[in-house]
Amino acid sequence: MQPDIAFIRNRISRALAAVRGVLYGAGAHEIVLYAVRLRSDMESLFILITLGDLIGVPILPPYYSLRLLPFLVPNIASWKRRVLRERDILETDGLDLLAG
């Protein structure tokens, strides 16, 4: 009986991918999460200053808001969810590293 090379190769590559995933998760995932949070904070501010009209704060002339609107529309729903979500002290940056 011949060994199924393709099957073995597939299992090995899946195992390697799992190891890579675990190492990435343990080593670098928190760094990526932090970078993503920084970016989202910047994005939140940007949306606020360009689309202040959304919450009744006319900050920039509507002309510029209208020019930017097509680029920002896809993010408005997640922006609202992110900004309006209730947060508590457990969400402080770095707190997740304190366990154990």
């Binding site: 995933g21 675990v22 998760g25 995932h29 932090y34 770095g94 154990g100």
Partner: protein, 585 residues
């Protein structure tokens, strides 16, 4: 007993627990369903709620929960009662209780729209529970700072080969932040450079230890001494060099607490991960192969069982309940529930990932505690860092690494893992301080004022406390949080009309055990410090510290009773068919 046998027993128990108990609960009681939308998918914002691969989440969760706790707890317990009770509690604890809490909290958060544990406590039990939980967290952080500050100052003061590696860790941390975020360099290149520099400094450490010893001698010449009462009831001194290294730890943590997290705390933590990973993998392999390659290293020399009551000098240290708060992480830890709900629970792609991520990482953490237990058991003597380092040195010697360097690596890995947690604890304490007092006193919102006040509190706790009691109060706060998390899981299961017994009995055990442990801790401090030493003027600091710790213990008991009472009310409310949600305050 030898290391291979202990490892095999551990792996077999963990495998059986995961396959035949955890999996059964997951499929038959919780009924995790891969087709149900998780909060990560429902509320995806690309930031906090974001579906993530389960292997990545397993690594993230493991890294978040496995730190100094499993190492120090196992070592302290083996010193007090012997290795056998510690081994039994580690394996029984994780199989019957530990994974239940981590997995239960994660699934509860997933099914409750990704709410944090405090928000769920607020809704399910009462608004007061949320406040008490936050106070627990405050006590927990304070005790981390006290216990870890004590450990670090002792390790740096007693081992002149270690400080160079820690100084380099600070420098390499700064460098890593600069390379990654400012120079936008590749992560792999950055890792090789900064981890390489840190390891090099760790290995050079033994060569310059005489210079560090001379520095300690010179500092001790100042003659400043503070006395404390040890766990054996004897009066011992904190030397000037001890206080010098305590200030060094404070300075290190001050940077972590005040600089932007990307600049220092996070890169330091990243470097610490690699140093610790190398030590754990090398140590576990050495422990497994020692029987074949170097049998003299493999045998346990610590007695299997020492005594039921390990108390001396009038203090009590009965196996029950004290073992169960001495070993928290590795068997069960309340802090994991917070991470499981707020951090990982919001990133689960499928409900079925909660088992390998939540339960799997908890079972894996026990292996780290097992490594620490094996290290102390083959080293035979010493406490904390010394025992762990000596054991790791012997395990690495199996591969031919000189014990001097192996021990230096073990010491440095231990100190690094503890100091990375300490700096983050100080950072979080500063945030809590600003949150609590910022309205009354606006200056409290200033990061430097908040950090300095927190650091002063830390120094007071270290210098007025006894390590074993600090550690056990830390464990008690942690375990009480675990009881609360399990209580919430039970109430959630009742609300969902599912059988809660797999979480109920662990909750009852942890609840009763923690209250009993707090009573004994208060008694010990009262008898050995307040009653015996209050007439000695040179010990006033230790007496004040003991009174403060007694008050903390009493607070923990009162908080536990409050929560128990409120949870009973919530249970009756659910059973009577009234709204499950708690009434407003």
């Amino acid at each position: 007993m030898n290391t291979l046998f202990a490892l095999v027993i551990g792996i077999v128990v963990i495998y059986l627990g995961y396959q035949f108990y955890a999996r059964r609960v997951d499929t038959q009681i919780i009924k995790a369903d891969p087709k149900k939308a998780t909060p990560a998918k429902m509320y995806m914002d690309g930031v906090d709620f974001s579906p993530t691969d389960r292997n990545v989440l397993y690594g993230y969760q493991f890294k978040s929960i496995a730190a100094a706790g499993p190492i120090v707890g196992a070592i302290t317990a083996a010193n007090l009662w012997g290795w056998l009770p510690a081994l039994i509690w580690l394996l029984a604890g994780v199989t019957l209780i530990g994974w239940v809490q981590d997995y239960g909290a994660m699934m509860m958060a997933v099914r409750k729209d990704g709410d944090s544990l405090t928000a769920i406590a607020h809704k399910l039990i009462s608004p007061r529970t949320r406040t008490i939980l936050l106070l627990f967290i405050f006590v927990y952080i304070l005790m981390i700072l006290g216990a870890f500050g004590n450990l670090l100052a002792g390790a740096l003061n007693g081992n002149p080969s270690v400080p160079l590696g820690i100084v380099m860790l600070a420098v390499a941390g700064m460098l890593a932040g600069q390379m990654l975020y400012k120079w936008k360099m590749d992560l792999i290149v950055t890792t090789i450079v900064v981890v390489g520099l840190t390891l090099l400094a760790i290995l050079i450490g033994p060569a310059i230890q005489s210079s560090v010893a001379d520095l300690n001698k010179a500092v001790n010449g100042l003659g400043l001494t503070i006395y404390f009462v040890d766990v054996d009831g004897l009066v011992k001194p904190f030397t000037t060099s001890y206080m010098f290294w305590l200030l060094f730890v404070v300075a290190f943590s001050y940077l972590g607490a005040t600089l932007p997290i990307w600049r220092y705390a996070q890169p330091v933590n990243y470097i610490g991960f690699w140093v610790m990973a190398l030590t754990i993998v090398g140590g576990l392999l050495g422990a497994a192969l020692a029987v074949f390659l170097k049998p003299s290293v493999a045998n346990f020399v610590v007695p299997a069982f020492k005594v039921f009551d390990a108390g001396t000098g009038g203090a009590l240290q009965p196996l029950w309940p004290m073992l169960f708060v001495t070993i928290a992480c590795g068997a069960i830890s309340g802090w994991h529930a917070l991470v499981s709900s707020v951090g990982t629970g919001r990133q689960l792609e499928y409900e079925t990932d909660a088992l390998p991520v939540g339960a799997g990482s908890m079972f894996s953490e026990t292996l780290l505690a097992l490594l620490a237990l094996m290290a102390i058991s083959v080293a035979g003597k010493g406490a904390g860092a010394g025992a762990f380092a000596a054991g790791v040195g012997q395990f690495l010697n199996v591969f031919g690494l000189d014990p001097t360097y192996g021990t230096a690596l073990g010491f440095a890995a231990f100190v690094i893992i503890v100091i990375t947690v300490t700096q983050l604890a100080l950072r979080f304490m500063r945030v809590v301080f600003a949150e609590a007092f910022g309205e009354m006193w606006p200056a409290a919102k200033n990061i430097h004022i908040g950090t300095i006040v927190s650091a002063i509190l830390m120094i007071i706790i270290v210098l007025s406390g006894t390590f074993t009691y600090l550690w056990q109060i830390f464990g008690a706060a942690n375990q009480l949080m675990a009881s609360l998390a399990l209580m919430l899981v039970c109430l959630w299961l009742v609300e969902q009309k599912k059988n809660p017994s797999f979480a109920f009995w662990p909750m009852v055990f942890m609840y009763v055990t923690t209250i009993a442990a707090n009573l004994i801790l208060s008694y010990n401090l009262w008898v050995t410090v307040v009653l015996k030493q209050s007439s000695k003027p040179e010990l006033w600091f230790a007496v004040v510290g003991a009174v403060a710790m007694i008050l903390i213990s009493v607070f923990l008991i009162a908080a536990a009773l409050y929560i128990g009472w409120d949870a009973w009310g919530a249970y009756k409310r659910m059973k009577s068919g009234k709204a499950a949600t708690a009434p407003a305050e």
